[in-house]
Assembly symmetry: C2
Homo-oligomer: 304 residues x 2
């Protein structure tokens, strides 16, 4: 067991309140409030050379994506900010944060600013608070046998964007933007909330997150690799073959919404694709054009 999951298990033993949802959901749901907290660390979640405004954007976006996955309406955010003594970086971060919060309509309500010791990596946290949708916030664990598995938009773009940011790949700006400036799907989450039996966001990779939804729901899940939606930019760079599809379905940072539903949802502001089906049983399986395919060794980004 990894060091992260051992510690999370010990937290899970503490978090017995129903609002905690066993620490197995994107957010806590306390009455009509949805609450989430994410930390990002230099060298782990972002690159030291990433522009500060992009990091501010991403900090807000990843938190809002958790709210989107519960169909919530954002109410505000608190920030935790570690200063490293680089005033120009801090000023650029603050300007980027102002722009991102304005773009997302997310009021900054408070937080804490601390000085980090010399040499410490930048460490940032954000708590986002939202209002649950009228019918309640969908859980990860609600999928039913017979439901389809659906995903919004396209996946894999951010993974190629990361490779571009690391200098491992050249590609179109659209892929870089997907990595640097993910867009939380707040309106889609609100429209979906009453139409889904389970929902989460894709943060660590489509396959690993889909496997988590199936596990949490106590069901088996088949994913149809040939139906995984890819962007034209991704296909242009990596082709649309099986290897490219597996890479796209195991890259992280997509922040698309993944959901289980008995029927295709209506009234959405974005495209949705049916990519699989839940059934009685346990475990994830993969098909490509109707033919069973072995699961890759790595289903997504695994925290060490």
């Amino acid at each position: 067991m990894s060091r992260e999951s051992a510690f999370i298990d010990s937290l899970r033993a503490i978090a017995t309140h129903p609002a905690a949802r066993g620490l197995a959901d994107d957010a806590a749901v306390l009455g009509d409030l949805v609450l989430t907290h994410d930390m990002i660390v230099e060298g782990v979640h972002f690159l030291p050379a990433d522009p500060p405004a992009d990091i501010a954007w991403k900090l807000a976006a990843v938190n809002l994506s958790d709210l989107a996955a519960k169909g919530a309406t954002p109410l505000g955010a608190l920030i935790g900010y570690g200063l490293t003594g680089d005033a120009a970086w801090d000023a650029a971060f603050a300007a980027g944060l102002a722009a991102a919060l304005d773009q997302f309509g997310l009021p900054l309500l408070g937080g804490d600013t601390v000085s980090l010791p010399a040499g410490a990596p930048r460490t940032l946290g954000m708590t986002a608070i939202g209002r649950a949708p009228p019918g309640g916030a969908p859980a990860r664990s609600g999928a039913r046998a017979g439901d389809g598995l659906f995903v919004t938009g396209t996946v894999g773009d951010a993974g190629l964007g990361l490779a571009m940011a690391q200098g491992r790949l050249e590609g179109p700006a659209a892929l870089g933007d997907a990595y640097r400036r993910p867009v939380p799907l707040i309106a889609a989450g609100q429209a979906l909330a009453a139409q889904v039996s389970a929902m989460m966001d894709v943060s660590d990779g489509l396959l690993i997150d889909a496997a988590r939804m199936a596990d949490a729901s106590g069901l088996a899940l088949r994913v149809d690799l040939d139906r995984v939606p890819l962007s034209p930019a991704l296909v242009a760079v990596s082709g649309g073959g099986r290897a490219a599809r597996i890479a796209a379905a195991t890259a992280g940072d997509d922040y698309q919404l993944l959901f289980a539903a008995a029927a295709p949802p209506a009234g959405l502001p974005c495209p949705v694709t049916r990519i699989g089906a839940f059934s009685a049983g346990r475990g994830l399986s993969l098909c490509d054009a109707g033919t069973p395919v072995s699961l890759p060794d790595r289903l997504g980004y695994l925290h060490d």
Copy 2:
């Protein structure tokens, strides 16, 4: 201007929502919710050799003290935890957190766990959410000319406890406990909320925090040094002379409640002492047995 306050000023320019209270209060107040976030960093807010269970206690206590200062009833907490690869430390922290949250009746609702790069200082955050008192959460800025300044309990004990933890002083265990295990005054805060015109907790030092209340309220404030309440343990170690009183009134980490009220409050579960008075004007002044005394150079813990 310090680097911390320059950055806070830039956040203040973003945080225009009334719930943010200009980032000049202990917590955000959004409708009937009170929200606070605090970060603590190894080498800055705690010593590397401090027991993990004490750090878990303190993380919860400092957040709850912010809720206490607004008279709020705690609803739950989210944690942000940076793993450093020391599983024994993490396990001891988790056990201490379980004990502290149980003691305080604070449900753990969620949060995030991340891996820190090798050598990074431990960095922890907590967000606490509470329900505002029925009459609303008192602000720091509500003091009125003619109000008295009051403080609960005694001050200065934690400052001596820190000196003991650093090996600079020998003293009784009660002082060490005040530093290691501060007790958030939730019940006192609830009882005070409807009786005060302004309230905050004493985190950076009595004089600096009192000066902040006066500034926020646009008033002058006189503090009577001879009335500052000292514990028998503190008096036994440092005497009760003027220097000891100034040291006690400028040490941090007390987590007592400081408030402005027209009359002494009733129905409190802890002692309260009147230590000064607000009047028209600006600025902090100090008296000792009726004689004006110069302000010390340092009013409390100043963030760099």
